[in-house]
């Protein structure tokens, strides 16, 4: 078996034996189930209010009653909270996966053993990245399956083939978003000397991407930013926000993720009528920026592993 796969399998095997992985998986699945449950409760409540209103209007002698507006919404609307969960919690947990990938070996003293084996640093790097990707893929796949099955809980609206296709696309997008944060975690686990700093810096980056940049670009409050709205928000008038939107807008990964995800899960008109291909074309710029960000992180991790030497504080007697 090629060394890259050996390292990747070891990465997954070790992660699967750690509590942190099961915690991660449990959180993702619970988030999905919570989203389905909230969707179910909201749908049931709204429908019962609608039915009561219909009965009331019938008794009042009104016959021209509009149809239940919920029926016009796609079933995937019930999963829109998952966007917020992945955006906020998922990305933070992905940092932990990337961080653990390298810190684990630094702390256990196994790193010198790896570095004194006749393997190229490139293979070690690709093995680790493949292992991290496989772990994230397993988590995302499990969440996707739970999403599909939990949709059966919704009595009024079941997923159709195009819904599953959109859900799949949403989770694929989420995978890349999480991969970016996992690579940030990996990068600082390699670069920094102390374990706490290796976690602190990625969390600062997470805050910047999740809150600061979107706020600068949109001029909205952080709470408003968490709303998985379908349309790009228009920044308030003023030179500052106009400049921010022009120059920082393209870098706002969190903003791109939430707006594209919302289109996939929320907006029936844009997606259903124009098709997924059209949605992908419309959001190709956002996808491209996300992939560029992943590419930059990969390059920095690669460079850091190639030039890694045992930290000085560890080698001084």
């Amino acid at each position: 078996m090629p060394i890259i796969f050996t390292i990747a399998i070891q990465e997954v095997k070790v992660l699967f034996r750690e509590r942190v992985f099961f915690l991660l998986l449990a959180i993702f699945i619970l988030m999905t189930l919570a989203s389905s449950f909230i969707g179910l409760v909201a749908t049931t409540t709204t429908t019962s209010i609608y039915n009561a209103s219909v009965e009331f209007l019938h008794q009042a002698g009104t016959d021209n009653i509009p149809a239940n507006p919920l029926n016009a919404l796609p079933a995937l609307t019930n999963f829109r909270n998952v966007i917020v969960y992945i955006f906020l919690i998922g990305s933070l947990l992905a940092i932990v996966v990337g961080h653990r990938s390298f810190i684990r070996e630094r702390k256990s003293g196994a790193l010198p053993l790896l570095l004194t084996r006749p393997i190229l640093a490139e293979k070690l790097f690709f093995g680790k990245v493949l292992g991290i990707s496989l772990a994230l893929f397993a988590i995302i796949s499990a969440t996707f399956i739970v999403s599909v099955f939990s949709s059966l809980l919704l009595p009024f609206r079941h997923l159709v083939a195009s819904d599953i296709e959109r859900l799949f696309l949403f989770y694929a997008l989420s995978f890349f978003y999480l991969l970016f944060f996992a690579l940030v975690g990996l990068l600082f686990a390699i670069k920094t000397k102390s374990e706490s700093l290796a976690l602190f810096v990625p969390v600062c980056i997470w805050v910047g991407i999740s809150f600061v940049l979107p706020e600068l670009v949109s001029g909205q409050t952080p709470t408003a930013l968490l709303n998985p709205v379908t349309m790009d928000q228009v920044a308030p008038d003023g030179t500052f926000f106009a400049l921010m939107r022009t120059y920082l807008g393209p870098l706002s990964l969190g903003w791109h993720y939430t707006s594209f995800s919302s289109q996939l899960l929320n907006n029936s008109l844009q997606i259903t009528n124009a098709g997924i291909g059209s949605a992908l074309r419309d959001n190709s710029g956002k996808l491209f920026i996300l992939l560029i960000a992943i590419g930059v992180c990969l390059s920095l991790c690669f460079y850091s592993i190639r030039n890694y030497t045992i930290q000085e504080e560890n080698i001084y007697e």
Partner: protein, 244 residues
Amino acid sequence: MKKNNRFIIETKSLTKKYDGKAVLDNLNLAVAEGEIFGFLGHNGAGKTTTVNILTTLLVPTSGSAEICGFDTVKGSMEVKKSIGYLPENVKFYDNLTASENLEYFAKLSGIKNSKEKVTEVLEFIEFTGIEHKKLGEFSKGMRQRIGIAQAIMHEPKVLFLDEPTSGLDPMGIKKLREVILKLNREKRMTIFMNTHLLSEVAKVCTTIGVLNHGKLVYKETLENMLKRFSDEESLEDIYFTIGE
């Protein structure tokens, strides 16, 4: 003791500086094939830095080091194929079993029949029946023996041990000593051992070198050293005399 004229480990004017401060200062050291070399020195003398350079983990500031005739910088891949290494306080992957840990390192060393190799190595070091136990349940002494097993899996020519007996109880030390001697006798492995335990040096090593503030101040076979310092009461007294 097996002796020949070929040096399997050789350093020439080896220097390592951190922030301008020399941790190793023009170290010239040669170890012949088949020796058990005890590298002595106080804390901070530069022993671990020397081993880190010899095992390709560090690049020297100046000078050179060769293992089996290969430069540790230019020929690092060849050096890695020739060495086994057990650092101080290695814990491995706690959640994996002993055999899972060893199989991983065997695969990284390019061993194809890793399962069989693990069994063979554990039998050689007389440490069987623990294959399916998680390393998290192991004592320090047991971990050190697993450490030795991973280091000799690919049958290296030179084995580097950094403070191998540190933190071990007397039984752990005895078992580790037996393994080291067996490796040297039966596998003809050259062993480079960093230590500050003089009693261990006397029981295991054939040659000793003393490092003081990054400089090699003494190198001699144990036999000759004991003759030279026959007036001293103990090895400890000899060590302090050399240090002076």
